[in-house]
Protein backbone atom coordinates (compact mmCIF):
# COMPACT_ATOMS: atom_id res chain seq x y z
CA UNK A 1 0.00 0.00 0.00
CA UNK A 2 2.83 2.33 0.90
CA UNK A 3 4.40 1.98 -2.56
CA UNK A 4 1.14 3.09 -4.09
CA UNK A 5 1.46 6.44 -2.33
CA UNK A 6 5.12 7.18 -3.13
CA UNK A 7 4.27 10.31 -4.99
CA UNK A 8 1.64 11.44 -2.50
CA UNK A 9 2.27 14.43 -0.27
CA UNK A 10 0.47 15.18 2.92
CA UNK A 11 -0.61 18.78 3.31
CA UNK A 12 -2.61 20.70 5.86
CA UNK A 13 -5.61 22.62 4.62
CA UNK A 14 -7.65 24.91 6.83
CA UNK A 15 -11.11 26.15 5.95
CA UNK A 16 -12.74 29.09 7.70
CA UNK A 17 -16.31 30.23 7.16
CA UNK A 18 -15.41 33.89 7.76
CA UNK A 19 -11.96 33.80 6.14
CA UNK A 20 -8.59 34.48 7.78
CA UNK A 21 -7.04 37.64 9.19
CA UNK A 22 -3.85 38.94 7.62
CA UNK A 23 -1.91 37.71 10.63
CA UNK A 24 -3.43 34.25 10.42
CA UNK A 25 -2.73 34.06 6.67
CA UNK A 26 0.90 34.98 7.25
CA UNK A 27 1.24 32.28 9.88
CA UNK A 28 -0.44 29.67 7.66
CA UNK A 29 1.82 30.63 4.78
CA UNK A 30 4.92 30.31 6.93
CA UNK A 31 3.89 26.82 7.97
CA UNK A 32 2.92 25.75 4.43
CA UNK A 33 -0.76 25.33 5.28
CA UNK A 34 -3.36 25.85 2.56
CA UNK A 35 -6.19 28.20 3.46
CA UNK A 36 -9.68 28.57 1.99
CA UNK A 37 -12.64 30.69 2.92
CA UNK A 38 -16.31 29.71 2.37
CA UNK A 39 -16.60 31.50 -0.98
CA UNK A 40 -13.49 29.83 -2.37
CA UNK A 41 -14.66 26.47 -1.10
CA UNK A 42 -17.99 26.96 -2.86
CA UNK A 43 -16.25 27.72 -6.14
CA UNK A 44 -13.97 24.71 -5.71
CA UNK A 45 -16.88 22.37 -5.01
CA UNK A 46 -18.78 23.74 -8.00
CA UNK A 47 -15.80 23.24 -10.29
CA UNK A 48 -15.43 19.65 -9.06
CA UNK A 49 -19.05 18.44 -9.15
CA UNK A 50 -20.93 21.13 -11.07
CA UNK A 51 -24.09 22.97 -10.07
CA UNK A 52 -26.29 19.88 -10.43
CA UNK A 53 -23.98 17.84 -8.24
CA UNK A 54 -23.89 20.57 -5.61
CA UNK A 55 -27.66 20.76 -5.62
CA UNK A 56 -27.86 17.02 -5.16
CA UNK A 57 -25.23 17.06 -2.45
CA UNK A 58 -26.99 19.85 -0.55
CA UNK A 59 -30.22 17.87 -0.50
CA UNK A 60 -28.49 14.66 0.40
CA UNK A 61 -26.73 16.30 3.33
CA UNK A 62 -30.08 16.99 4.92
CA UNK A 63 -31.31 13.41 4.88
CA UNK A 64 -28.33 11.04 4.69
CA UNK A 65 -27.46 8.43 5.59
CA UNK A 66 -30.40 6.42 4.26
CA UNK A 67 -33.17 8.13 6.14
CA UNK A 68 -36.32 6.06 6.01
CA UNK A 69 -39.96 7.01 6.28
CA UNK A 70 -42.92 4.66 6.44
CA UNK A 71 -46.57 5.30 5.63
CA UNK A 72 -49.48 2.89 5.92
CA UNK A 73 -52.31 3.77 3.55
CA UNK A 74 -55.85 2.63 4.28
CA UNK A 75 -58.18 1.78 1.42
CA UNK A 76 -60.12 5.01 1.14
CA UNK A 77 -60.93 7.51 -1.57
CA UNK A 78 -57.89 9.45 -2.79
CA UNK A 79 -55.60 7.96 -0.13
CA UNK A 80 -52.93 7.84 -2.87
CA UNK A 81 -52.79 11.64 -2.55
CA UNK A 82 -51.57 11.25 1.03
CA UNK A 83 -48.65 9.28 -0.37
CA UNK A 84 -48.09 11.97 -2.99
CA UNK A 85 -48.01 14.66 -0.32
CA UNK A 86 -45.54 12.66 1.77
CA UNK A 87 -43.18 12.11 -1.13
CA UNK A 88 -43.38 15.78 -2.07
CA UNK A 89 -42.02 16.71 1.34
CA UNK A 90 -39.30 14.07 1.24
CA UNK A 91 -38.29 14.92 -2.32
CA UNK A 92 -38.11 18.62 -1.56
CA UNK A 93 -35.89 18.00 1.45
CA UNK A 94 -33.62 15.85 -0.71
CA UNK A 95 -33.17 18.60 -3.27
CA UNK A 96 -35.23 17.24 -6.21
CA UNK A 97 -36.45 19.91 -8.59
CA UNK A 98 -40.17 20.60 -9.03
CA UNK A 99 -40.44 18.62 -12.29
CA UNK A 100 -38.84 15.54 -10.77
CA UNK A 101 -41.07 15.78 -7.71
CA UNK A 102 -44.10 15.95 -9.98
CA UNK A 103 -42.92 12.84 -11.80
CA UNK A 104 -42.29 10.94 -8.56
CA UNK A 105 -45.72 11.91 -7.22
CA UNK A 106 -47.49 10.77 -10.39
CA UNK A 107 -45.60 7.45 -10.47
CA UNK A 108 -46.30 6.83 -6.79
CA UNK A 109 -50.00 7.54 -7.28
CA UNK A 110 -50.03 4.87 -10.01
CA UNK A 111 -48.21 2.38 -7.80
CA UNK A 112 -50.68 2.95 -4.95
CA UNK A 113 -53.74 2.62 -7.20
CA UNK A 114 -52.37 -0.60 -8.61
CA UNK A 115 -51.51 -1.94 -5.17
CA UNK A 116 -55.05 -1.34 -3.92
CA UNK A 117 -56.66 -2.76 -7.05
CA UNK A 118 -54.75 -6.00 -6.70
CA UNK A 119 -54.81 -6.43 -2.98
CA UNK A 120 -56.14 -9.85 -2.05
CA UNK A 121 -57.86 -8.50 1.03
CA UNK A 122 -60.59 -5.97 0.26
CA UNK A 123 -59.82 -3.92 3.35
CA UNK A 124 -56.08 -4.39 2.75
CA UNK A 125 -53.71 -1.58 3.42
CA UNK A 126 -50.74 -0.56 1.33
CA UNK A 127 -47.41 -0.19 3.01
CA UNK A 128 -45.01 2.47 1.73
CA UNK A 129 -41.36 2.82 2.61
CA UNK A 130 -39.31 5.77 1.41
CA UNK A 131 -35.53 5.49 1.56
CA UNK A 132 -33.70 8.76 1.00
CA UNK A 133 -30.05 8.17 0.22
CA UNK A 134 -27.25 10.40 -1.00
CA UNK A 135 -27.94 9.95 -4.70
CA UNK A 136 -31.47 8.57 -4.97
CA UNK A 137 -34.92 8.15 -3.55
CA UNK A 138 -36.20 4.59 -3.41
CA UNK A 139 -39.88 3.92 -2.74
CA UNK A 140 -41.22 0.50 -1.83
CA UNK A 141 -44.95 0.02 -2.36
CA UNK A 142 -46.21 -3.24 -0.94
CA UNK A 143 -49.61 -4.83 -0.94
CA UNK A 144 -50.82 -8.15 0.37
CA UNK A 145 -52.28 -9.60 -2.77
CA UNK A 146 -51.68 -10.81 -6.27
CA UNK A 147 -49.36 -9.43 -8.95
CA UNK A 148 -49.44 -5.84 -9.94
CA UNK A 149 -51.44 -5.25 -13.07
CA UNK A 150 -49.56 -6.49 -16.10
CA UNK A 151 -46.12 -6.16 -14.55
CA UNK A 152 -44.47 -8.02 -17.39
CA UNK A 153 -46.78 -6.86 -20.13
CA UNK A 154 -45.97 -4.37 -22.82
CA UNK A 155 -48.59 -2.22 -24.50
CA UNK A 156 -49.15 -2.74 -28.18
CA UNK A 157 -47.47 -0.22 -30.45
CA UNK A 158 -49.76 2.59 -31.56
CA UNK A 159 -49.99 3.38 -35.26
CA UNK A 160 -49.18 6.95 -36.24
CA UNK A 161 -52.26 9.15 -35.89
CA UNK A 162 -54.28 6.43 -34.16
CA UNK A 163 -55.58 6.84 -30.66
CA UNK A 164 -53.69 5.02 -27.94
CA UNK A 165 -55.42 2.13 -26.21
CA UNK A 166 -57.62 3.23 -23.36
CA UNK A 167 -56.68 0.99 -20.45
CA UNK A 168 -53.51 -0.23 -18.81
CA UNK A 169 -51.30 2.84 -18.69
CA UNK A 170 -50.35 2.65 -15.02
CA UNK A 171 -47.16 0.65 -15.37
CA UNK A 172 -46.08 2.45 -18.52
CA UNK A 173 -46.45 5.74 -16.69
CA UNK A 174 -44.40 4.52 -13.74
CA UNK A 175 -41.65 3.34 -16.09
CA UNK A 176 -41.71 6.56 -18.05
CA UNK A 177 -41.62 8.83 -15.03
CA UNK A 178 -39.07 7.04 -12.84
CA UNK A 179 -35.46 6.01 -13.46
CA UNK A 180 -36.02 2.44 -12.33
CA UNK A 181 -39.12 0.35 -11.70
CA UNK A 182 -38.96 -3.21 -10.34
CA UNK A 183 -41.62 -5.71 -9.37
CA UNK A 184 -40.88 -8.19 -6.62
CA UNK A 185 -43.03 -11.14 -5.69
CA UNK A 186 -43.20 -11.79 -1.96
CA UNK A 187 -44.58 -14.69 0.06
CA UNK A 188 -47.65 -12.69 1.12
CA UNK A 189 -47.92 -9.97 -1.45
CA UNK A 190 -46.19 -8.02 -4.13
CA UNK A 191 -43.81 -5.13 -3.94
CA UNK A 192 -43.07 -2.49 -6.52
CA UNK A 193 -39.86 -0.55 -6.21
CA UNK A 194 -39.59 2.95 -7.69
CA UNK A 195 -36.23 4.68 -7.94
CA UNK A 196 -35.42 8.27 -8.85
CA UNK A 197 -31.85 9.52 -8.96
CA UNK A 198 -31.01 13.03 -7.82
CA UNK A 199 -29.11 13.45 -11.06
CA UNK A 200 -30.96 11.50 -13.74
CA UNK A 201 -29.23 8.56 -15.38
CA UNK A 202 -27.17 9.70 -18.35
CA UNK A 203 -27.55 13.32 -17.25
CA UNK A 204 -24.40 15.18 -16.26
CA UNK A 205 -23.92 18.45 -14.47
CA UNK A 206 -22.92 19.97 -17.79
CA UNK A 207 -26.49 19.49 -19.06
CA UNK A 208 -27.73 22.43 -17.00
Amino acid sequence: MRSGFRSARVVRWMVSREGFSAEALKRLDTEGVYSTDAAQLGLLRESLVGKAGLKAARGALQLVPNTEFEVLLPRSAKSELVAARAVEEIGTEMGFDADSIGQIKAALVEACINAFEHSRIKSGKVHLRFVASADRLTIYVQNYGVDFDGAGRKLAAVKAGALPQRRGWGIELMKGLMDEVRFEGLAHGTRIVLVKFLIGKGESEDDE
Partner: protein, 120 residues
Protein backbone atom coordinates in the same frame (compact mmCIF):
# COMPACT_ATOMS: atom_id res chain seq x y z
CA UNK B 1 -72.03 32.21 -19.74
CA UNK B 2 -69.54 31.22 -17.06
CA UNK B 3 -69.27 28.47 -14.51
CA UNK B 4 -66.27 27.24 -12.56
CA UNK B 5 -66.42 23.95 -14.51
CA UNK B 6 -66.89 25.35 -18.00
CA UNK B 7 -67.21 28.48 -20.11
CA UNK B 8 -69.13 28.78 -23.37
CA UNK B 9 -67.92 31.21 -26.02
CA UNK B 10 -70.14 31.14 -29.11
CA UNK B 11 -69.52 27.72 -30.67
CA UNK B 12 -66.69 26.77 -28.28
CA UNK B 13 -66.72 25.36 -24.79
CA UNK B 14 -63.78 25.54 -22.41
CA UNK B 15 -63.78 22.84 -19.76
CA UNK B 16 -61.90 23.28 -16.50
CA UNK B 17 -61.09 19.96 -14.85
CA UNK B 18 -60.33 19.81 -11.14
CA UNK B 19 -57.01 19.51 -9.36
CA UNK B 20 -56.81 15.71 -9.62
CA UNK B 21 -58.32 13.83 -12.56
CA UNK B 22 -59.13 10.33 -11.37
CA UNK B 23 -62.11 8.10 -12.20
CA UNK B 24 -64.68 10.37 -10.58
CA UNK B 25 -63.40 13.68 -11.94
CA UNK B 26 -62.71 12.07 -15.31
CA UNK B 27 -66.29 10.85 -15.58
CA UNK B 28 -67.59 14.31 -14.70
CA UNK B 29 -65.47 15.75 -17.48
CA UNK B 30 -66.72 13.09 -19.90
CA UNK B 31 -70.35 13.78 -19.03
CA UNK B 32 -69.85 17.51 -19.39
CA UNK B 33 -68.23 17.07 -22.78
CA UNK B 34 -71.04 14.77 -23.91
CA UNK B 35 -73.62 17.33 -22.83
CA UNK B 36 -72.06 20.02 -25.03
CA UNK B 37 -71.59 17.67 -27.97
CA UNK B 38 -75.29 16.85 -27.80
CA UNK B 39 -76.01 20.57 -27.90
CA UNK B 40 -74.01 20.78 -31.12
CA UNK B 41 -70.91 22.42 -29.66
CA UNK B 42 -68.04 20.62 -31.30
CA UNK B 43 -65.13 22.91 -30.48
CA UNK B 44 -63.73 21.93 -27.12
CA UNK B 45 -60.80 23.30 -25.17
CA UNK B 46 -59.76 21.52 -22.00
CA UNK B 47 -57.79 23.90 -19.81
CA UNK B 48 -55.64 22.07 -17.28
CA UNK B 49 -54.34 25.15 -15.46
CA UNK B 50 -55.87 23.99 -12.17
CA UNK B 51 -55.01 20.34 -12.68
CA UNK B 52 -52.00 19.17 -10.77
CA UNK B 53 -52.25 15.51 -11.68
CA UNK B 54 -53.97 13.10 -14.04
CA UNK B 55 -53.82 9.44 -13.08
CA UNK B 56 -53.97 6.50 -15.50
CA UNK B 57 -57.72 6.09 -15.07
CA UNK B 58 -58.15 9.78 -15.83
CA UNK B 59 -55.98 9.27 -18.91
CA UNK B 60 -58.21 6.38 -20.04
CA UNK B 61 -61.27 8.58 -19.73
CA UNK B 62 -59.57 11.43 -21.59
CA UNK B 63 -58.79 9.05 -24.46
CA UNK B 64 -62.49 8.22 -24.50
CA UNK B 65 -63.34 11.92 -24.65
CA UNK B 66 -60.95 12.37 -27.58
CA UNK B 67 -62.57 9.41 -29.36
CA UNK B 68 -66.02 10.83 -28.81
CA UNK B 69 -65.10 14.28 -30.14
CA UNK B 70 -63.38 12.68 -33.12
CA UNK B 71 -66.51 10.61 -33.84
CA UNK B 72 -68.55 13.81 -33.86
CA UNK B 73 -66.00 15.44 -36.20
CA UNK B 74 -65.24 18.01 -33.54
CA UNK B 75 -62.00 19.69 -32.52
CA UNK B 76 -60.24 19.37 -29.20
CA UNK B 77 -57.33 21.46 -27.91
CA UNK B 78 -55.53 21.32 -24.58
CA UNK B 79 -54.14 24.30 -22.68
CA UNK B 80 -52.38 25.16 -19.43
CA UNK B 81 -50.70 21.80 -18.95
CA UNK B 82 -48.31 21.54 -16.04
CA UNK B 83 -45.03 19.80 -16.80
CA UNK B 84 -45.94 16.53 -15.05
CA UNK B 85 -49.19 16.25 -16.99
CA UNK B 86 -47.33 17.06 -20.19
CA UNK B 87 -44.91 14.21 -19.35
CA UNK B 88 -47.84 11.87 -18.73
CA UNK B 89 -49.55 12.80 -22.01
CA UNK B 90 -46.28 12.39 -23.86
CA UNK B 91 -45.79 8.86 -22.50
CA UNK B 92 -49.33 7.94 -23.53
CA UNK B 93 -48.89 9.54 -26.96
CA UNK B 94 -51.50 12.26 -26.61
CA UNK B 95 -49.09 15.13 -27.29
CA UNK B 96 -48.79 13.92 -30.88
CA UNK B 97 -52.56 13.83 -31.34
CA UNK B 98 -53.88 16.88 -29.54
CA UNK B 99 -52.45 20.38 -30.04
CA UNK B 100 -51.35 21.90 -26.74
CA UNK B 101 -51.35 25.64 -26.05
CA UNK B 102 -49.72 27.50 -23.21
CA UNK B 103 -52.81 29.45 -22.26
CA UNK B 104 -56.55 29.09 -22.55
CA UNK B 105 -56.71 32.36 -24.54
CA UNK B 106 -54.26 31.04 -27.14
CA UNK B 107 -56.25 27.83 -27.52
CA UNK B 108 -59.57 29.67 -27.80
CA UNK B 109 -58.11 32.08 -30.33
CA UNK B 110 -56.88 29.14 -32.43
CA UNK B 111 -60.04 27.06 -32.21
CA UNK B 112 -62.38 29.95 -32.98
CA UNK B 113 -60.90 30.25 -36.47
CA UNK B 114 -61.58 26.60 -37.30
CA UNK B 115 -64.62 25.32 -39.13
CA UNK B 116 -66.31 22.22 -37.75
CA UNK B 117 -69.74 22.78 -39.22
CA UNK B 118 -71.22 23.31 -35.74
CA UNK B 119 -74.97 23.72 -35.64
CA UNK B 120 -74.86 26.51 -33.05
Amino acid sequence: MTNKSYRVLDDTVVLYPHNYINDIEGEKLEEMCETFLKKGIKKVVIDFSDTEMVNSIGVSILIGVIERIKDKKGVLLFSGLKQTNRDIFKIVGLTKLIPIYGSEDDAVSEISGLDTGSST
